[in-house]
Symmetry: C2
Subunit: 203 residues, 2 copies
């Protein structure tokens, strides 16, 4: 699946077409340059429109970021929830959680970069809402690890520190992933799942 199709997967249900084109353009520009270095003229230009058109569909530039951030966080939280609620062993659930979280951040690395690294550009109320979503993602990952500790499958002296480490691994993929690189998102997902299982494996 190429980059274009990937973006369509995430933003495909935004209507009308113009609003969707603006969001896609904003994701690309924010991922490439950062929120503050991106201008509304830049976004509109990439969407094939004038700067004023942006304000037909979005109240402010920050609202664009908020929408992107919300969708991205909800999507990735859903993945973690699905892994946590899956059957099987704790190791299987952790493997699935890491693999799909990492794969998502690799496949959607442009969205991932915006979602993970542009929080500081959100307004206070939007920020609080997004931080709550992030807390839930952390809580979901921690509960998978806790389950494994309880069942004896995992040996984890510091559960919350380890949870933070696992999330760092997954999230940071968005920062360095290169679509022209040697590994596919799947391969990175498998590698990281293996690395994380070794982190929690009893000695």
């Amino acid at each position: 699946m190429d980059a274009q199709a990937m973006e369509t997967e995430v933003w495909g249900d935004i209507t009308p077409d113009a609003a969707r084109r603006l969001v896609v353009a904003a994701v690309e520009a924010f991922a490439e340059r950062g929120y503050h270095a991106t201008t509304t003229r830049d976004i509109a230009g990439r969407a094939g429109m004038s700067p004023a058109a942006l304000y037909i569909h979005y109240k402010t530039k920050e609202e664009l970021l908020y929408q992107i951030s919300g969708v991205g966080h909800r999507r990735s939280l859903t993945l973690l929830r699905q892994a946590a609620e899956g059957g099987g062993t704790p190791a299987g659930r952790l493997r699935t959680a890491v693999r799909s979280f990492v794969r998502w951040h690799a496949e959607h690395h442009t969205t991932g970069r915006v979602v993970q690294y542009e929080l500081g550009a959100l307004g206070p109320e939007h920020y609080a809402e997004i931080v709550e979503l992030r807390r839930r993602s952390e809580a979901t990952m921690r509960s998978i690890i806790e389950d494994g500790v309880r069942s004896g499958d995992f040996d984890v002296p510091d559960v919350s520190g380890t949870t933070l480490a696992v999330l760092s691994l997954c999230i940071d993929v968005a920062r360095w992933f290169n679509p022209d690189g040697r590994r596919t998102p799947d391969q990175i997902g498998e590698l990281y799942a293996d690395l994380v299982l070794r982190m929690v494996r009893p000695g």
Copy 2:
């Protein structure tokens, strides 16, 4: 060691005093808001000067960033080099490398944030130079892991992928570290060193 002393450690040898105050102010502002959201008025204000004073000591705003980035990268590369060149076992060297790299990013998380997340704001020549320093850091960490694989101390199917994962862990500390948090930089360093050793431990 409090935050003030920490900054002095990194920037203490910059003269004259005004230039040092400007750099320290820039580090704080860039870490807090990002390069592009920080204005020269903001930096100068934090240093107790007028905006024009900045240009007595630095050619441009980007040169400030370049100096911060250079110092930060050189410092952290030196830590890795020292760990790699240390005696003892491969596991000992990896433990030292991770512990001190993580501790540095925690103790100097404001500098670390600028160093790790504001690369995109550098001009092309400065960027190329900094990327070279980052490559050396990665090569140093990889050589520590390779030594362990060669000696049989480590079991690592994908050395470069694992190296990237280890660096992600260490670097990302700068993003989330909170001085008011429950763990000290030392404790996080120990935890992460342990986690990394488990990642490479033979099964």
